[in-house]
């Protein structure tokens, strides 16, 4: 037995456990673009969560970016050169994000980087892009800190503060709510930020946040929190979380007999929401970057092209990926050179760009000024309800 101490006997079992967890996380499709890059192509890097817990975010964004690049190349590229995309998977981990952005910037020598969805990963990658003076455009990181990293970091989406404001305005004006409850994920900076921004705006509209309850990423049972929300007797419940948790919360909430409407943010935006939530999520609202039924020519053209190529209706992340790539290409066309400084300056000068997710103007803080939409879940799909412009 001396050769086989207790600890050693435990090891294979635990090892197998650890490995099964790891392999389960990794889906089969880790997007791999790239190839040879000669002088007649412009190499652009992308990093995203192609695998891991937020895989649908990364894959949607990637599809949007690919569509945009194909269209740009079909229309003659940028200054006669084709854009080529090099994509790495960061598996939703900051350490991986740091490594792959270093690889993109220093080994592959890309002229610009597109990514990430999750603000935590954008912060990790952004610091490297900033360090090496390579512009980075985040399609959909809404946390305020992301673009504060430095003058090379941009985004084409609105920030959480605006989104919290939109949610509060919709709850107070359209739903006529006076008393709100919030159930947020304390393990997620996104969720915590939205909670604060919603509270501030909702109080500004004359409402009152009666109770805020917290859960932690990975929780499955929300019974205790929902009981106290039920006792508080509110008109609306704000759920600033991601789609998996929101779906579960909705089911348990309806099971407890809470029937007031739910309102959320763009973390709800996934086809999985209706799959998980089923009938419980019907009649809920969330603020988003765009709605597929909006009656604008950009939206119509994009939805048609996307549906033709991938056979699915694009979600907000795909639309933002598409816009991020097109804003970048537009800046490349205007920029005197593809050097980091020139390109960053050109991106910063983006004004009234007709994006699918609204007209995009990059402000002094390198954030996009643009409207948000509110959609309602009806028949398992989001439907356009209202549009809220900034400064209203």
């Amino acid at each position: 037995m001396a050769l086989f101490p207790r600890a050693l006997r435990l090891a294979p079992i635990l090892l197998a456990l650890a490995c099964s967890g790891q392999t389960a996380d990794k889906g089969p499709d880790a997007g791999q673009g790239g190839g040879e890059h000669g002088s007649d192509v412009i190499l652009v890097g992308e990093y995203g969560s192609m695998t891991g817990a937020e895989a649908t975010f990364g894959q949607s964004t990637h599809n949007g970016i690919m569509l945009a690049i194909e269209e740009i190349n079909a229309a003659g590229g940028v200054g006669g050169k084709k854009i080529e995309l090099k994509t790495y998977d960061d598996a939703g981990k900051t350490q991986e994000a740091g490594t792959v952005v270093t690889r993109l910037v220093t080994e592959d020598k890309v002229v610009a980087v597109l990514g990430e969805v999750n603000s935590k990963l954008s912060l990790a990658g952004g610091r490297i892009a900033q360090q090496f003076g390579v512009p980075m455009v985040s399609p959909s990181s809404t946390n305020a800190q992301v673009t504060q990293v430095g003058d090379m970091i941009f985004r084409v989406c609105f920030v959480d503060e605006f989104q919290g404001f939109v949610g509060a305005k919709f709850a107070a004006e359209n739903l006529q709510a006076k008393k709100a409850a919030i159930l947020y994920d304390q393990g997620s900076p996104y969720s915590k930020g939205l909670k604060d921004d919603f509270t501030k705006a909702f109080v500004g509209f004359g409402g009152e946040v009666v109770t805020d309850q917290a859960y932690t990423t990975g929780d499955q049972d929300f019974g205790a929190q929902l009981t106290s929300i039920k006792q508080a007797g509110v008109d609306v419940i704000y759920l600033p979380g991601y789609y998996t948790d929101v779906g579960n919360i909705a089911i348990q909430m309806r099971a407890q007999g809470i029937t007031v409407p739910m309102v959320g943010g763009d973390g709800w935006d996934s086809s999985k929401l209706a799959e998980i939530g089923g009938p419980a999520i019907e009649g809920s609202y969330y603020s988003n970057h765009y709605a597929a039924e909006e009656d604008r020519p950009e939206v119509k053209a994009f939805v048609k092209a996307f549906t033709d190529k991938y056979g699915a209706t694009p979600d907000g992340l795909a639309a933002l990926g598409y816009d991020a790539a097109r804003v970048l290409a537009d800046a490349m066309k205007r920029s005197p050179s593809l050097g980091g400084k020139d390109l960053a300056k050109a991106i910063a000068e983006t004004k009234d760009f007709p994006g699918v997710t609204g007209h995009i103007t990059i402000d002094d803080h390198r954030n996009a000024q643009k409207p948000a939409v509110v959609v309602e879940m009806k028949g398992g799909a989001p439907h356009f309800v209202a549009s809220v412009a900034p400064g209203q």
Binding site: L3, A7, L15, Q22, A97, S119, K120, R127, Q186
Partner: protein, 366 residues
């Protein structure tokens, strides 16, 4: 009679000069190699590969230090990343808020060996000591018992650290606000779930490999010392060790505290590395397990084996990135095969030069 005995033992003892050389030569070699890596090899291989080498160094510090507990002593700790977290956050707070309080900004002061770097080295030691203290508090009650209690306690400790860090406040970045804040406010403003963002990038190949060299030397010398022999005897049979007069609890706790200290240093190195963010989710259970796998794969008790395994397990996934569809499957499969075919790890208790084939080669070379 007495005098002649002393004479004889004095004759056997190496001279002062020789003793000094054998004591100081290895650390000097470590510092020399680290400097070579930093100043010559790093710039030659480019930024990305230098970063991979840095990651390897940090993994070596983690794995070789865990080897003291899981390898030498035969205990089973699965919370090594928690000590890394403790050390990382302690070192990070010292560097981040120290910069603001001393110089009023995050601007790096001086270059290599400048004031910023000195603060950073102090912070690394503070991180190590904080982790060692945590290791003592966790280890003392659980290591008095025999069996798998340590695994459960370290797992629980990891979760406690993760939840506590998650609940901290956002990092402050206004110099006046920081100057006015109390130490408690500063220590609880380390970023919460978003992670400790904004730490200056002070970690480089030199410091990482000085630390890695230090932990390798320390472990190897410990293994050959009376203390190391005591640890190995505990691993083989705790009751027999106790019967031979070895204070088992004391030695186990000592090994555990040493390991925690180096994990704390690794945390400080990790916190200031380019392209990493100190955040509670990623330094959780999964990370602890990566380290356990390195030790088990390399051979429990083998310093060189653990080092090689740590390097391989960092480089392999990176090298296989082009085959990313299958790399995690291949990785898991390799580990399972090793566990089935060589449950003692690739090297067992042996060091590289103790493998019969290598030994033969070395002998024939002479």
């Amino acid at each position: 009679m007495e005098a002649s005995f002393q004479d004889r033992s004095a004759a056997l003892r190496p001279s002062m000069g020789k003793a000094a050389v054998s004591a100081l030569l290895p650390p000097a070699v470590v510092i020399g190699l680290a400097a070579l890596l930093h100043f010559v090899i790093g710039p030659a291989i480019g930024y990305f590969y230098a970063k991979v080498l840095t990651d390897v160094g940090i993994a070596v510090v983690m794995a070789v230090s865990l080897n003291l507990v899981n390898g030498y002593t035969g205990q089973f700790s699965i919370g090594h990343a928690a000590f890394m977290t403790v050390g990382g956050y302690a070192a990070g707070s010292v560097v981040y808020y120290g910069h603001y309080l001393i110089w009023g900004s995050l601007q790096q002061q001086g270059g290599f060996l400048g004031p910023s770097t000195l603060l950073y080295v102090v912070a690394l030691l503070v991180g190590g000591l904080a982790a060692a203290l945590a290791g003592f508090v966790v280890g003392l009650p659980s290591l008095r018992l025999r069996g798998d209690y340590l695994a459960i306690v370290t797992l629980g400790f990891g979760e406690i650290v993760r939840v506590l860090v998650t609940r901290t406040n956002d990092v402050l970045f206004d110099a006046d606000e920081i100057a006015a804040a109390s130490p408690v406010t500063l220590l609880t403003s380390v970023g919460g779930s978003l992670g400790f963002t904004g730490l200056p990038f002070l970690t480089n190949l030199f410091w990482v490999w000085v630390a890695a060299g230090a932990v390798i030397l320390f472990s190897y010398r410990l293994k050959r010392s009376d203390q190391g022999r005591a640890l190995l005897s505990i691993r083989e049979d705790e009751i027999a060790a106790e019967a031979m007069g070895i204070p088992t609890t004391r030695f186990k706790v000592q090994a555990f505290v040493y390991a925690a200290f180096f994990a704390g240093i690794a945390g400080g190195l990790f916190a200031h590395e380019v392209g990493t963010t100190l955040n509670p989710q990623e330094l959780g259970f999964q990370k602890s397990f990566e380290v356990v796998i390195m030790v088990v794969l390399g051979g429990m008790g083998s310093v060189t084996g653990t080092t090689i395994a740590a390097a391989a397990l960092v480089i392999l996934p990176e090298a296989l990135r082009s085959f990313s569809d299958y790399r995690m499957i291949a990785y898991a499969l390799t580990l399972i095969l090793v566990m089935l075919l060589r449950p003692q790890g690739l090297m067992g208790l042996r060091e590289v030069w103790e493998i019969p084939a290598v030994r033969k080669l070395l002998r024939s070379g002479r």
